[in-house]
Symmetry: C2
DNA sequence: CTAGATGCAAAAGATTTGCAGTTTA
DNA sequence: TAAACTGCAAATCTTTTGCATCTAG
């Protein structure tokens, strides 16, 4: 289950941030899509219902949400500008469709064993990892 | 074992690309370092022995090497502009030190089971993945 | 009412492109 | 020699900042 726009709105208000129509527009776009969205994408979509919104505000909102760990960046091999809703659970990863940019997330990556082995092998004190899969979703494969 | 500057030079020549002093300078920097290097970093280091080189040429060389899959981009969570030598073997991943940007790579990630499971669960035809670990290397932990 | 948010224009970076001159094979 | 490469300047693209104005709480 994903965070909804309203739930995030509540979190923002609770933290003392103001809930402007612009912020709500960005939230609705990002929460309502399971695609990899660039700031530009979000701007275009938010503009449909909130014509006055500026791209600058989209950037500022994304930075805010990102600082609060409510959205996170998607690292496609060629383009790292995408954003996605974060899952309520801390740990999760993405499967990104190379065809339509749809993103599916999953939680259980089973990498703790590998982390341990890498620690033993390299001496690194490992604090986190980035894992993403690429491929074609069912629809794009057929099309 | 990593690819050496000379080995890559050979590959380039064999493919019909010209081996200019500037390209060689970039190759030497990238092959001689196990850090996460931005184009700017590479430019600065290449300039030491090849003063005439331009940042533009560094970009062009990186794009060329990247197209030929001889170097690859490193996706740090906050900054995706780094490049690293690619391993001779196709499949490999990075462990990046958050302190000094040193990079260690490893090959065996054991993710095929997970790929299969994701295919079953999501219907995606998975063609690749991006995996990177972050942490502190031994030296940075002590310091 | 007031701190915080917005939008514009302009700045700041990062990367690419056009072009004339240079160099490698 | 010819195709490929380089460097400069300028263009492009993405993202951030300064500032006056506006607005949610």
């Amino acid at each position: 289950m994903r965070l909804t726009a309203n739930k995030i709105a509540g979190i923002l208000r609770q933290k003392g941030y103001k809930l402007t129509p612009q912020r709500h527009a960005v939230l609705k776009v990002i929460a309502g899509s399971s695609d990899y969205l660039t700031p530009e994408d979000i701007y275009e979509q938010a503009r449909v219902n909130t014509p006055g919104i500026g791209l600058i505000t989209v950037y500022r909102t994304l930075n805010l949400l990102s600082d609060l760990h409510l959205v996170c960046r998607v690292h496609a091999p060629d383009d790292c500008r995408g954003y996605m809703m974060r899952r309520p659970t801390e740990h999760h990863h993405h499967v990104v469709c190379s065809g339509c940019t749809k993103v599916v997330d999953f939680g259980d990556c089973g990498l703790s064993d590998l982390e341990q082995r890498l620690h033993d092998d390299t001496g690194f004190d490992i604090s986190g990892h980035l894992l993403e899969f690429y491929g074609l979703c069912r629809e794009c494969r057929v099309a």
